[in-house]
């Protein structure tokens, strides 16, 4: 029983990690309807930016996080300004932008490898990790930080999208951007804001996760963005809270499954769940009925 409890705690940690990535990914999807796969590249690059500030130049933890956030936000909004917005203006569908996004992911990932090398590097803030013990269950301060931040962020974004003008405007934009512009919304600016915030969040996530794992490498974003996609779809598209919920569910399933299934099958299991959800519950577990997603 205590083994299962430990798996559940690991599941909550993993779920929070997926939720963190899925939140920014879903925020961007909500505003632009683009599956922004390059988000995985932004995640990787921001971790290395944080690494450079924290480990290479020894500027401290705050500077590490700031570097990650600023780099992520700038790269994220640049991708929107230079690629997605012109495509949208040219009448190209978000689907083609999604294919383009794979190209951006490849470029960022391999440029990172060219600059920082293709071997993993140690990301550590120095000092000791505090381990907490609750009965038979173990957890660390970095893990608690991830869980807390994911929960706070999910709640904040939920309130933002439900009760604040800007959030409601961004949702409206995602549902029908032409209509949003007709009623006088600054559509372009709203999308830019979404890319800045969504990417900035992934910068924080990259540092939290990097510090928890202890090492970072140029490939770290690829698996994470695939899991964020799975999380967003099983949670429910076009709904940020649902994406976070999907992340939690995915993390829990993966870790409780370790009880019966070897961990090497986690990836396959996650995608099997994705395909089942796509076929039988296309609105996701927590999504509303929403034909606007095109399913």
């Amino acid at each position: 029983m205590s083994v299962l409890a430990q798996f559940a705690v690991n599941g909550i940690v993993a779920g929070s990690v997926y939720a963190l990535i899925a939140l920014g990914f879903a925020l961007i999807f909500t505003a632009s309807r683009v599956f922004h796969f390059a988000h995985g590249g932004v995640y990787t690059l921001s971790a290395f930016a944080g690494y450079t500030a924290l480990v290479t130049f020894k500027l401290g933890l705050v500077a590490g996080f700031l570097a990650a956030i600023v780099v992520a936000a700038i790269i994220g909004v640049l991708i929107n300004i230079l690629l997605y917005e012109p495509m949208k203006a040219g009448g190209v569908s978000p689907f083609v932008a999604m294919i383009s996004s794979f190209g951006v992911l490849i470029i960022i990932t391999h440029m990172t490898a060219m600059v920082w090398g293709s071997n993993p590097v140690v990301l550590s803030r120095g000092g000791q990790t505090t381990v907490y013990r609750l009965g038979p269950i173990y957890t660390t301060d970095a893990q608690l930080l991830i869980i807390g931040f994911a929960a706070a962020l999910a709640i904040a974004l939920y309130i933002f999208f439900r009760h604040m003008r800007l959030g409601i405007a961004i949702r409206a934009l995602g549902n029908d951007s032409e209509l949003a512009e007709v009623v006088g919304m600054p559509a372009k600016r709203l999308r830019h804001i979404s890319f800045i915030v969504g990417s900035g969040l992934v910068g924080v996530s990259a540092m939290l996760i990097g510090l928890n794992v202890g090492i970072i490498d140029f490939n770290m974003g690829n698996e994470v963005i695939l899991m964020a996609t799975v999380a967003m779809i099983i949670g429910g598209l076009g709904n940020v809270g649902a994406a976070a919920g999907g992340g939690f569910v995915l993390g829990m399933i993966q870790n409780i499954a370790i009880w019966k299934i070897e961990s090497k099958w986690q990836m396959a299991l996650s995608f099997a769940i994705l395909i089942v959800v796509l076929l039988f519950k296309p609105n996701g577990l927590f999504g509303e009925k929403r034909p606007a997603t095109g399913l």
């Binding site: 599956f35 690629l83 012109p86 495509m87 009448g91 190209v92 569908s93 978000p94 689907f95 083609v96 932008a97 999604m98 294919i99 383009s100 794979f102 190209g103 951006v104 992911l105 490849i106 470029i107 990932t109 391999h110 440029m111 490898a113 060219m114 293709s118 690829n222 695939l226 996609t229 799975v230 779809i233 090497k264 099958w265 990836m267 396959a268 995608f271 099997a272 994705l274 395909i275 796509l278 076929l279 296309p282 095109g294 399913l295």
Partner: protein, 290 residues
């Protein structure tokens, strides 16, 4: 000299893969990123057959295509019910699942793959030299090209394009859109799997990384760069994109960053063509990627 022959074989393999995927992407409007998985299924079938049963080339082609078709059925049946982004993501899911099988099953040799695969035989003659293997690869590419040409010019080809342009119209004429998509998916799988046979016999080994998601994205890149809906474009793109990074070898680019630079180049091409030239180098149908 042997090096150039090997490059030639590689171009023939990618030409086959690109043409087979172009039938899906360019003619039918189905953007699948599971092509590398099907290619891998053909390769593993061939390798296991050669290691344990027979290395006869024709039997290898036959069995690889058969398993390729089987797997494509498993992918197509659920995925074809989805549209656009969701079709792509479902095929991506299958790509990830199949790649995970390659990497983790015992029979596929896990992450180290399979090696020591014998040379193939054809009518009792052992195909040993790289030049002979190049001609086998070339023959497959030519057969694939001619069949694709025949299909796309036949009435069935018009039907494919009609599905791409307006599914509802096709359905309203009493044609089964699902069956049309399904047939082209299976046809595409036959050649992708056969390309896997060539891969195995030209390397006499398997590295699972050759069938990862990146590879599927690379094949999509070839289709888009050449031009969706253009078979000649696919040939051109396969030749250009395989040859281009080889130029790095002559530009004295350090070995440590050459493979990274190659990927960056492919990424830049994918972004450039989806952004500025969606009809590709010599494609005529600008509307495929709309």
């Amino acid at each position: 000299m042997e090096y150039f022959i090997y490059i030639g074989t590689l171009i023939a393999i990618y030409a086959t893969l690109t043409i087979s995927l172009n039938l899906l992407v360019g003619y039918t409007g189905l953007i699948s990123i599971a092509q590398a998985a099907i290619y891998g299924v053909g390769a593993y079938t061939t390798a296991l057959l050669a290691l344990h049963v027979t290395n006869d080339l024709l039997i290898s082609f036959l069995c690889a295509s058969a398993t390729g078709v089987l797997v494509s059925l498993i992918i197509a049946l659920p995925s074809l019910r989805l549209k656009n982004e969701y079709f792509l993501i479902a095929t991506m899911g299958f790509q990830a699942i199949i790649f995970s099988l390659f990497m983790n099953l015992e029979i596929t040799g896990g992450a180290s793959g399979l090696y020591g695969i014998p040379h193939p035989t054809l009518f009792g003659h052992t195909i040993r030299t790289p030049l002979e293997k190049f001609f086998v690869a070339l023959a497959l590419a030519v057969v694939c090209y001619l069949l694709a040409l025949r299909i796309t010019n036949a009435p069935f080809g018009r039907l494919l394009r009609a599905v791409r342009e307006d599914q509802t119209a096709v359905a309203s004429l009493g044609k089964s859109v699902f069956r049309i998509k399904f047939s082209v998916f299976v046809f595409s799988a036959v050649f992708a799997a056969a390309a896997g046979t060539i891969y195995v016999y030209s390397l006499t080994a398997i590295d699972p990384v050759a069938f990862a998601l990146d590879e599927s994205i690379f094949i999509i890149t070839l289709v888009i760069v050449g031009g969706t809906g253009s078979l000649n474009g696919s040939l051109l793109a396969a030749a250009l994109l395989i040859l281009l990074p080889e130029a790095f070898k002559f530009l004295a680019i350090p070995d440590a960053i050459a493979p990274q630079l190659r990927q960056v180049l492919y990424g830049v091409l994918l972004v450039f063509f989806t952004r500025y030239r969606r009809q590709g180098l010599i494609g005529e149908y600008r509307d495929v990627l709309k």
